[in-house]
Symmetry: C2
């Protein structure tokens, strides 16, 4: 059971804590080099020892996403240019049963104290039928303030 | 005779026409993907069949410039995201005598009608002693409105 290609069906939540017994997560660092007024963004990311530079189109543009691999020296040089536009977080995968998994991100540094959780579904019926456990907290599906770009540039929503 | 490493001594002019008998130039296309408020810029460029993506720090930042080679497919995909932030020009090299050369850029498309010329010198003494020929036109050395980024984003200065 899977949705149409390229369409992600997701719900997003704001847990206030990690559930007990969650396995160690994976550290992810992401910084924005620049974002154009039309939303075109250029970001670098380091995850599991692999560094990439990604250019992504804005919402009103033809959809483009190009990822370039960069080496450690380049990542470090470019990272210096992302100050004030960064996200650092640790991602934990938390099984929810029924084949569902919550990706729980625990933010650090400028966004310390924030947790978000995303659950991806194979169909809109499965998404609608999902009864979130209490620990997932308030739902913020579709709230643009919790997108990575917005968190990096504007910080934790108040 | 050369200046300190990394320092370019240049004067910039606004010719109103190419001098007679100038050889065919080289086409150069450059588009900005995004520019951050601190001046960090990400641009792509195609010149002599070679395409690159360059990230360059802004004026108040530690100096960083990283150039990544990209293939034709990537250049075309990313070019679509630079609409309204492009420069297309043909560069002609015009010998001036005394070992000096003017790089004369004849702009096209959105900047059609504009010509700029840059002359690079080996020392500040040579720069001060240079008597520009009439065809070079008005001098605009140091005028930030004629920098590539500004021309691409704001157009021809009025």
């Amino acid at each position: 059971m899977s949705g149409p290609p390229g369409v992600e069906i997701e719900r997003k939540f704001l847990p206030t804590r990690l559930p007990d017994g969650v396995a160690a997560g994976e550290r992810l660092e992401q910084g924005y080099l620049a974002v154009a007024p039309d939303g075109t963004e250029v970001r670098i990311r380091r995850r599991a020892g692999r560094s990439t530079l990604t250019v992504k189109s804005g919402p009103a543009q033809v959809r483009v996403e190009e990822e370039l691999e960069i080496d450690d020296r380049r990542f470090e040089a470019l990272w210096a240019l992302t100050e004030g536009r960064r996200i650092a977080k640790t991602r934990h995968l938390v099984p929810l049963g029924n084949g569902l998994t919550a990706e729980v991100d625990v933010y650090a540094e400028a966004l310390d104290g924030l947790l978000t959780a995303e659950v991806e579904f194979g169909s809109s019926e499965a998404s609608a039928a999902f009864a979130p456990p209490d620990w997932l907290g308030a739902e913020v599906t579709g709230d643009a303030r919790y997108a990575n770009q917005s968190l990096a540039l504007a910080g934790i929503p108040v």
